[in-house]
Amino acid sequence: MCYYPSGQFLTQIPTWLIVVAGWFVVHHLSTKRDQRKEARERLDQFILALRAIEERAIQFHQTDTYKGDLARTLLFDIQRIIAKLKRHPFGLFEVAPNLMKELRRAVTLKNFDSSKFTCQPPNSSIFSNVANAVDDIEDQLEMEYERIYL
């Protein structure tokens, strides 16, 4: 063990304080960066899942005959994506319930049941409603990501 005269030791205290403070700053920034990266990855996955719902909804409403299995898949997928919003990291995000309501409504309110199903023309309002609902959720999530992590 080295021996320092007390005067020399006292002069080194600021240096050590700077070293410790620097370590804390680097550690904090590194943790923040990791959290940001993880949140970004999960957000990208979420957006992909959202886009997959949009694609399936278009496919469902454009088929010639009613596809019950596709309708059930859409219900499950919408339910899953809503549940996902309650889990990390989305629990920190403020997403208005209205946005999820609009998605469910756009996909499953009109032309969703076998008794009234008809193949929708390309200019059907269902498609624009679905696209708008998906875009609104994506925009909101991106804004929340920026607010929290950037």
Binding site: L75, N98, L109
Partner: protein, 106 residues
């Protein structure tokens, strides 16, 4: 007012879907006729636990709750008669929309 509880997943179906009875075995019309209308006629407060199913279609919700208003009960009566329990706020919000606008089917 007597209090009743219906858990949709347990007492009706884990897969509630479809607007009319011809759309499937767990339609909104059937749910309305089996649970909502009797509770409204008997003026009983009904607690409806919505969680636990594999999702809801809006057409199911509209026919069940909006349909209760179309059956002749005022939106105020319908809203007061049912206590909706769910972790999904969007679901409760959507049902309230259909009760408020139940006399204008979409």
């Amino acid at each position: 007012m007597a209090q009743l509880v219906v858990n949709v997943s347990r007492d009706f179906s884990k897969y509630p879907a479809g607007r009319y009875i011809e759309d499937g075995p767990a339609s909104g019309q059937l749910f309305r006729d089996k649970f909502l209308i009797p509770a409204l006629k008997e003026a009983k407060e009904l607690t409806i636990e919505l969680d636990g199913t594999r999702g809801y279609g809006s057409s199911f919700l509209e026919e069940a709750f909006g349909g209760a208003v179309r059956a002749g009960f005022s939106p105020k009566t319908v809203k007061q008669a049912f206590k909706l329990i769910s972790n999904d706020k969007s679901l409760v919000e959507e049902i309230h929309d259909y009760i408020e606008h139940g006399s204008e089917p979409e």
